[in-house]
């Protein structure tokens, strides 16, 4: 797989080239757009899981290279394009490792310096959840080990859903809550 850095001076992304790239991802622009967002999210996640401190930048580099290569391969490529993105991401990561200084991550804070603003945003965002979601989160987290697994199985039974579905539901609520808190803090910082 040729994944050399994009020769930026020699190639400019045109509308036609981007359209060709999208048509490789999906039969219509909507499907292609969703596929693109989905792939982008997963590539970012992989860079995060590999411990990269700039996962979005690395993902952008990956996507730029794939768009360039897609001009050649789109018509003959067989299989899920997501795997091609993965191959390029892997190479981008190896290049990143060669350049990256070896810095230990900071130790996690003990939370004692957490601001009142952060708690305020959390409370605010929590109140904005739908009542059912709010109750579900409170119930889900009320038990700690060792009984929490059994408790959550019972909760899933009560709701009439598999435990996995409950875990995913909780993950979605928690993720939205986190995004709300981040946005709230950014808005406060701007004032």
């Amino acid at each position: 797989m040729n994944t050399q850095p994009l020769p930026k001076k020699e190639w400019n992304l045109t509308q036609e080239a981007f359209a060709k790239f999208l048509s490789w991802l999906g039969r219509n622009p909507d499907d292609a757009g969703k596929k693109y967002e989905d792939i982008r999210r997963r590539v970012i996640k992989i860079f995060v899981c590999r411990g990269c401190d700039c996962p979005e930048d690395l993902t952008d580099e990956t996507i730029n290279r794939v768009i360039f290569r897609s001009q050649e391969i789109a018509e003959t490529y067989v299989g899920d394009p997501a795997l091609y993105f993965y191959g390029v991401a892997h190479k981008v990561h190896l290049e990143y490792l060669r350049k990256k200084p070896d810095i230990q991550p900071p130790l996690p804070s003990d939370g004692s310096l957490r601001s009142e603003e952060e708690y305020g945003c959390l409370d605010q965002c929590f109140e904005r959840l739908l009542p059912r979601s709010r109750e579900l989160v409170l119930e889900y987290y009320q038990e700690e080990k060792p009984s929490k697994i059994e408790f959550r199985k019972q909760l899933a039974l009560q709701l009439g859903i598999p435990l996995n579905a409950l875990r995913i539901r909780i993950w979605r609520i928690r993720t939205n809550l986190h995004a709300c808190v981040v946005q709230c803090l950014q808005q406060k910082a701007m004032k």
Partner: protein, 87 residues
């Protein structure tokens, strides 16, 4: 939805940097194309954070959590958030 993914896929070892290169790449390729596996990874990630906050990780796991899992700034933010949520 495959309820056994939690046990089938080595997601915790992956998140703690415990897989060899081949294992890691095999798992990541699956994560790129299998939505159920990707969702499972997200759940396990949050649960690992919760286990750390509850002091439920072994000494070895805790060290890997702090030295590897928390390398990415996004993860440190998630930890902060989870800690606030638990109060």
């Amino acid at each position: 939805m495959n309820a056994n993914l939690e046990h089938e896929l080595p997601l915790r070892p992956y998140l703690l940097g415990d897989l060899n290169s081949d294992e890691q790449q095999r798992l990541e390729q699956r994560l790129m194309i299998d939505s159920a596996a990707y969702e499972e990874l997200n759940c396990v990630e949050d649960e690992l954070i919760d286990d750390y906050l509850e002091g439920a990780l072994s000494g070895n796991e805790k060290q890997k959590f702090e030295n590897y899992f928390l390398s990415a700034p996004e993860r440190r933010q998630k930890l902060d958030f989870a800690s606030a949520l638990k109060r």
